[in-house]
């Protein structure tokens, strides 16, 4: 297919792919995020084996599919934003290593935990499931915290990356704070999931967790906004950039300035819906937990997750991966994407396949609906996780 035949112009394709990447991240945050939250809460809301199996089996049938949102996010970034994929993952080399090792504790943790009934064996896998939930939750936030500040990389003439700075630089106070935003957000969302899916003691403890974590989220998310306003410099493209030009990041000029991450909100007020949802969803989540409203509460916390992720993305637009070491190397929507043909073909694939995914995911969630009780776990002990 010749590039002239593509019916959508390059700039629009790029914005669409920026949005799709956002949708995939939000999809993972909302669906996979509750699983991570349940993992993080596991030792706290479920005190003995019967309770732990209730909590684990609440997410048991769906966590595997939910995780694919993350895997697909990686694949989509690779295909649509190759340099973003290459730079973000190699800059965070050791962080990625820890993240991936923590994530792979989950498939084995879920599958192997019930295979031996020894107490220590189960405690080991409980610990793995906790790590597999808490560590990724935290590190996703840390990654966003670093994105907002810019990352220490530069590109040479052949588009080869080099890095400055260290792991400790990635673990700076603002990034750690963003890590806590992420943990509290996913704990709130996962807790809400347990409020909906369980009963009795587990549910009561999950309720408490939702109430606390939603308060922490509201405070830290607000404080994050304050930090970005007063201390964290944003990035601005100076001079001309062709949104439909070839992807050559070095063709532009970039400066840093305080408050730049607020420009999009100042120019388009309606975008404030995103942070608004982040706050409102958390407040409603608090209320829903108080009044024990499971399903609606989960929608509220889900919207809060979506709002928080969208807030970060929108603040930085058109930047995706700003570079602190060499601002000119920053990767933006206009100069880091794949070719128009790739973006268009992949868009077609997404338009056809993603609705199908949503349909069968919805079918599975509906099929597996209903509360998970200790009796249910006991009666199906051999089959369940």
């Amino acid at each position: 297919m010749s590039p002239d035949l593509i019916p959508i112009d390059y700039a629009t394709l790029r914005v669409l792919w920026w949005a799709i990447l956002g949708v995939l991240l939000i999809g993972f945050g909302v669906l996979g995020g509750s699983d991570l939250g349940v993992g993080t809460l596991l030792p706290f809301v479920a005190r003995h084996d019967a309770e732990r199996r209730v909590a684990i089996n609440a997410i048991g049938p769906t966590w595997e599919g939910n995780q694919v949102w993350f895997v697909l996010g990686g694949g989509a970034a690779f295909a649509a934003w190759p340099q973003v994929y290459a730079a973000s993952i190699s800059v965070f080399y050791s962080v990625m290593l820890v993240l991936v090792l923590a994530l792979i504790l989950r498939p084995v943790g879920f599958e192997y935990r019930n295979k031996v009934s020894h107490r220590r064996w189960r405690a080991l896998w409980d610990w793995c499931l906790f790590t597999g939930g808490a560590v990724p939750s935290f590190l996703f936030g840390v990654a966003f915290g670093n994105l907002l500040q810019g990352i220490p990389f530069r590109l040479d003439e052949t588009m080869r990356l080099s890095y400055e700075g260290s792991v400790l630089g990635l673990l700076n106070p603002f990034a750690l704070m963003c890590g806590l935003v992420s943990v509290s957000m996913l704990v709130m969302h996962g807790g809400m999931f347990l409020v909906m899916k369980t009963e009795g003691a587990v549910r009561e403890r999950a309720r408490t967790a939702v109430r606390w974590s939603s308060c922490v989220l509201i405070m830290l998310f607000g404080f994050g906004g304050v930090c970005v306003f007063f201390w964290i410099k944003g990035y601005v493209i100076t001079g001309a950039i062709d949104p439909g030009g070839p992807s050559d990041p070095l063709a532009k000029a970039v400066t840093r300035s305080l408050g730049a991450w607020y420009t999009n909100y100042a120019e388009h007020g309606w975008l404030l819906v995103a942070p608004g949802l982040g706050f409102a969803g958390a407040i409603l989540g608090f209320a829903a937990a108080t009044f024990r409203i499971g399903m609606i509460g989960l929608w509220c916390t889900g919207l809060s997750v979506a709002g928080v992720i969208a807030t970060a993305g929108i603040s930085m637009f058109p930047f995706i991966l700003p570079s602190r070491a060499h601002p000119q190397s920053s990767l933006t929507v206009w100069d880091a994407s794949s070719s128009p043909l790739t973006l268009f073909m992949m868009l077609a694939a997404v338009v056809i396949l993603l609705p199908l995914v949503l349909i069968y995911t919805g079918w599975v969630i509906r099929l597996m609906r209903g509360k998970v009780s200790p009796n249910y776990v006991r009666d199906n002990a051999d089959v369940l996780y």
Binding site: L101, V108, Y163, S339, T361
Partner: protein
Amino acid sequence: MIDFDVVALSRLQFGLTAMYHFLFVPLTIGLSVIMAIMESVYVMTGRTVWRDMTKFWGKLFGINFAMGVATGITMEFQFGTNWAYYSHYVGDVFGVPLAIEGLMAFFLESTFIGVFFFGWDRLSRRKHLAVTWLLAIGANLSALWILIANAWMQNPVGAKFSYETMRMELTSLWEVFFNPVAQAKFVHTVSASYVTGATFVLSISAYYLLRKRHRGFARRSMVVAASFGLASALSVAVLGDESGYALTDHQKMKLAAIEAMWETEKAPAAFTVFGWPDEKTQTTKWAVRVPYALGIIATRSLNTELPGIKDLVKTAEGRVRNGILALKALRKLRKNKKDAEARRVFETHGKHLGYALLLRRHIADPVKANEDQIKLAARDTVPSVLPLFWTFRIMVGIGLFLILLFAWAFIETTRQRFGGRIFRWVALLSLPLPWVAAELGWFVAEHGRQPWVIEGLLPTFMGASNVPLANVILSLTAFILFYSALLAVDIFLMVKYIRRGPPGPKPDQRLLAGPPEPQRTEPPARQPMPAQQPLPNE
């Protein structure tokens, strides 16, 4: 600039983690189809033993699947962590099949695996069967897309280098999807996976028969494994991956290296069954050769000539020179995009740009290379012959042995004997063979591709990230420790659940229950399986 220690360790890490991942993948692919076949029989006949079989093999499938997922996640992100320049250079093309794999296959597989395990009571028989088939289809589609991606590394069609973005860009998705190498690879790899699944079922069934346990269950499983395994083993051989090797120059180089074919031979070339390739003298000692065989296998014809290693190196030398011209033109174009002369040169020689990059191993700036360095770079296009020669032959030997094994199993099951002690022992001891063959096969495919990461376009050492050596040492160590621990757990659980066997009354309970009564829940006339002595645990 390029740290060759980082490159070497990154390669080691990718190779180890990929081979480790592929311990679990073929069993997932093969067993998923076998489970779907068993459940189909259950739905068609209504006999509960087939449901129990599906559930039992499903349990082992689940233990294996968890490891497959765990090790697969790390693969996806290793392209970014360790091969950042590769990711930038080819993400526009290579990323597409990977993303579609997630969208079309991994989602399907991962969403329905939960329903497969937990949905037995929530779904009608037919609906659950549909779920099992969707799971199997997901696993197979997943292989398709990953192999399309891998085949593009071997035969990069449908893409062109862009001097504006300094990377490969897609020109035809169609060509990438219908890459002939991808088709050969898919059929070969998936058939090999079916053989792995069938061998697994066959060996464990043989074990139960040897121990005189779960006999009805084991016999039925063996029938499925024998017929499915025989068909798959034949298809692995007939549709061998080698058919794709005659296509492009480096594929020809791989073929020549596998065959230790130093000189170009008259068509049809002879096949060297055994021998000892000596890379220094570029000869093969003690060669045992079958006339005409290679020409026929590799080109499917009698008159297509296959070039030898020495001639291929000469061709490569010319390309290195062309590549230098292309590199010079590219630099001019980067400075001035309107330089018409440079553009013309680049359009003529641009396809050999990668050959100039090979010089980076010998000189920092390839443009300044002298004659010796050009010769060295051309010599680099030869992968190491000896390991390829032997790994390929061991793989083929195992493949042929497995055809015989499944033929034997097929005869035994159709004659309703299920083998004597010798057959059962042979079947049991053959358990590791398909894994050995699969790992060696990947070694042949990927080591044979060296020095390229994308054949003819990008040398492997260019693809690596610029990360500190300490990082790679750390991650390699972590992977080895982590993976070894997980593998130990995986094997422990597999053995535990195989020993436990499918659910059913224990032998002592059988004694308490009195003499066994023939089960008559199903009419005997419909018994599809030759269960001559019905056992109570059926």
